[in-house]
Symmetry: D2
Subunit: 293 residues, 4 copies
Amino acid sequence: MLKIAFIGLGNMGIGMAQNLLNANYSLNVYNRTKDKSSTLKGDVKVFDQPDKAVDGQDIVITMLSDDETLNQLANGEHGFLASMKNGAIHISMSTISPDTSRELYNMHKIAGSHYLTAPVFGRPNAAAEAKLFICTSGDVETKEKAKAVLELLGQGIYDFGTEPGAANVVKLAGNFMIMASMETMAEAFTLAEKQGLDREQVAEFFGNTVFNAPIYKNYGTLIAKKQYQPVGFKSKLGFKDARLASKMALDAQMPAPLLSLVYNRLLSAVANGNGENDWVEGIAGSVSTDAGV
Amino acid sequence: MLKIAFIGLGNMGIGMAQNLLNANYSLNVYNRTKDKSSTLKGDVKVFDQPDKAVDGQDIVITMLSDDETLNQLANGEHGFLASMKNGAIHISMSTISPDTSRELYNMHKIAGSHYLTAPVFGRPNAAAEAKLFICTSGDVETKEKAKAVLELLGQGIYDFGTEPGAANVVKLAGNFMIMASMETMAEAFTLAEKQGLDREQVAEFFGNTVFNAPIYKNYGTLIAKKQYQPVGFKSKLGFKDARLASKMALDAQMPAPLLSLVYNRLLSAVANGNGENDWVEGIAGSVSTDAGV
Amino acid sequence: MLKIAFIGLGNMGIGMAQNLLNANYSLNVYNRTKDKSSTLKGDVKVFDQPDKAVDGQDIVITMLSDDETLNQLANGEHGFLASMKNGAIHISMSTISPDTSRELYNMHKIAGSHYLTAPVFGRPNAAAEAKLFICTSGDVETKEKAKAVLELLGQGIYDFGTEPGAANVVKLAGNFMIMASMETMAEAFTLAEKQGLDREQVAEFFGNTVFNAPIYKNYGTLIAKKQYQPVGFKSKLGFKDARLASKMALDAQMPAPLLSLVYNRLLSAVANGNGENDWVEGIAGSVSTDAGV
Amino acid sequence: MLKIAFIGLGNMGIGMAQNLLNANYSLNVYNRTKDKSSTLKGDVKVFDQPDKAVDGQDIVITMLSDDETLNQLANGEHGFLASMKNGAIHISMSTISPDTSRELYNMHKIAGSHYLTAPVFGRPNAAAEAKLFICTSGDVETKEKAKAVLELLGQGIYDFGTEPGAANVVKLAGNFMIMASMETMAEAFTLAEKQGLDREQVAEFFGNTVFNAPIYKNYGTLIAKKQYQPVGFKSKLGFKDARLASKMALDAQMPAPLLSLVYNRLLSAVANGNGENDWVEGIAGSVSTDAGV
């Protein structure tokens, strides 16, 4: 059985790691905040340095909050990249920029290991229930070897070819689409509200008919109810993704005015000290405030 | 059996009228272009004046392109409003402004007839297959009486209360949401394309996972393929709806920057003489042009 | 000497009327709030109905807050239009839509009087000092006859031809340009502030060099100091002008995203109950709020 | 007399260098394209390496197209920074990011020389006529020593304190303001045009009255005439400045929707292969295209 190191036990990682344990894998784990691992049930070894955690393992999975953290844990002090055994695979599942994946892909190649880009769509409960949608890009053989592990984490694997950054492009494009959907619903529901209708009834109608997709149903309910607690995804992380998407658009020479609109909404949330609040509030709350309701 | 007049045999109306005929209703029909009725199969009487078409009928259904046409056919020369029999019901299914419904509601009340707002979501094929989603608002008894007829035209009836304009608000908010979704997908797919990915594969991924709603699947395919033929819905009609939504936002004191964005996209299409082209081209084609692809 | 009726003694009108009195004209005046005329010095007769005020006069000057008020005083109960003597001239100096001028032009023609469009640029102090810039459009002979009177009110008369609405187009375009300048300065100064610079020093630099125009100097100082008192021009009147400009853009099929931006800023001010506050606050205050400073 | 090295003889630099020669300074010059120096009249020595050009000089003036070029000439192969004599002053007049100035300031300090930020406002003809507006920031003594030289290049020196990046902030904020003014005029003049007025007459009116600043007069004429030749400032350089301003806004957490608007206009110009065209065309030409005129 493949030996796995799991790095990053946040809201998403904790559920993913447990799913691997449930399938009887042994895990070496590393998290900057050590006590996160205490809820894991199964054959777990906790390490206090990333390089030690990956030593001798076949697979290293990372699920971290941003490019900087990933780079730090891979290449900083006690970084794991240089400690991976020859031929081992790093499955990189964080939401990061395609450029970071392109650089890490090359670094792994030089170091004799492999890098597989595999970001996911889904909130923490989907991670816990192994219902994530997983996008992949990278070498064909690497994907083959990682397949069985990825299948334990999600309900579908969608491949976007061999260019290492491709799956990150899809992930960031998707997060932009989610932000844009929030802006869309917030404007529509608030307009309806100000015309005298019930926001929740309007949201329910669209979520059950022409917009009956998870994004519209789930975020639609939150937006209609103006329910911004508990925080599912922070505005500052949403802004990070808007920033990465904007950087990607700059590199590709792509004018994207709707991306600019949601970027500015979330930047405003951060600038006002509300970066820890939910991104639904960052976008939909701002629409309401502008409208005076 | 209720006697029905059907006014407006365009792409949408023709399928709806046929569904009533299929249920063995006799129809009086009126269309400005008379030969549109030639394909109808069943007990049809064709009239060359709206007032004659509604004479003695219990139900008058209108499915027209805009507020002006409806007002003209209701209140202009040979207008039908004054010719409706006492207690008859006008089911108004066109995409029009809430204000027009509010005014017509009052006019019918004075004239001794009833006005029911009942706009629909769905493209012509959905109309033909009786798969429309129908939104209603108006008097409770009127809705009760019209229910059996409406059920023959759609897969669901969603009621928004007694304020006559309410269902129009929902319809226009929904059309705004569709335009916003097109902008969203066009920016996301074009960004992915310029980053080296395949638009269609990206569209398919989102349409099968987190955005698996009809709007995203159907428009997503058109946008990904840059397929703007045949014309399903004209940019000039799309602009009309953006204009009505903006008017509604003005009346309700609702700042809506994303609505402004798609309004300007479609206004640009019209200003460039492309009002007859599909609204997908009006929005998504403009995103591509701006991006130089 | 020409006999003049002056209708509308607001912040602007009061100074203009005084300038005519200073030149020894006798004035019949009408204002909805009667005591406004008490500060006027000279040969003034105050009337309590607009039709009586214009009776027998050669020139009728209107300086009112909006289209609705002008239409009401011209054509409502005791309206002055029908009471103007044959050949008399109505000099219409309010900021109104070109369409209203087009309609009034035709009405006067039918009634045997003349309509001259003559909106102005300048704040109340410029009105008091006869330093207004006056834009005109209308019949050549009418302009000739009105010239001597207009010269007493401003520092320059700029003619835009015979189409009655033309001067209103220029006035509304200009007010849009002022709003856009405020947005421009607010974003630039706030960006500089957040980069650690002194807003006022930055404003002073630009106002003395490449942007040394009255608009940039005057509004620049207010924006830099975040000084929104006393109220010079209300946000709700600014929004009215943004609305009229948008209507004009709609009629002319003109996509104008920057107009949409300032329109939404001022609409938000109105929606939040701040319509009575200065439009500098409506625009620049909103930029600061979004930036968290 | 101070010995000066001048690096960068583009459209701007050539006129500035000549002004120093006219004041009897001897110049060491370096330009990547060597023959640019052939038109200079006076005591000029041409060098083919930046390090040789600065050897022994008291003042080094740089006037280059972007951050990358400056960094390359300062710190790349044969870079001049390490060759400057102890206590010499680098007057950095290019339009670059504040961060680059902050870094170079520190590098000079370590190397024993001084860095003075001194970007300018003005087109090539203003540079040739010593009519530039010069913004400065940096050490007080350095500014004192550089003063006499700077006075030969401009009509005014405006100081923004000791923080090295401050003057760059002002310069980039100003270039944003110019872009925003172009968008403002383009929308206003095109709206007037589509309402039947003469663009040039409208431009002339505003340039002579409430907007009588150089920016509005000069760019206003070009925009009104749709005159995009000869190229005064390339769209790709304009976009570079919009990009630097956006980066500065990101760093300062400043949402700036109008900056986003002009950023996207110029990015679209670049994406469509029109980066070499004038930025007036990049912005105002795009407004016209959107409007179908």
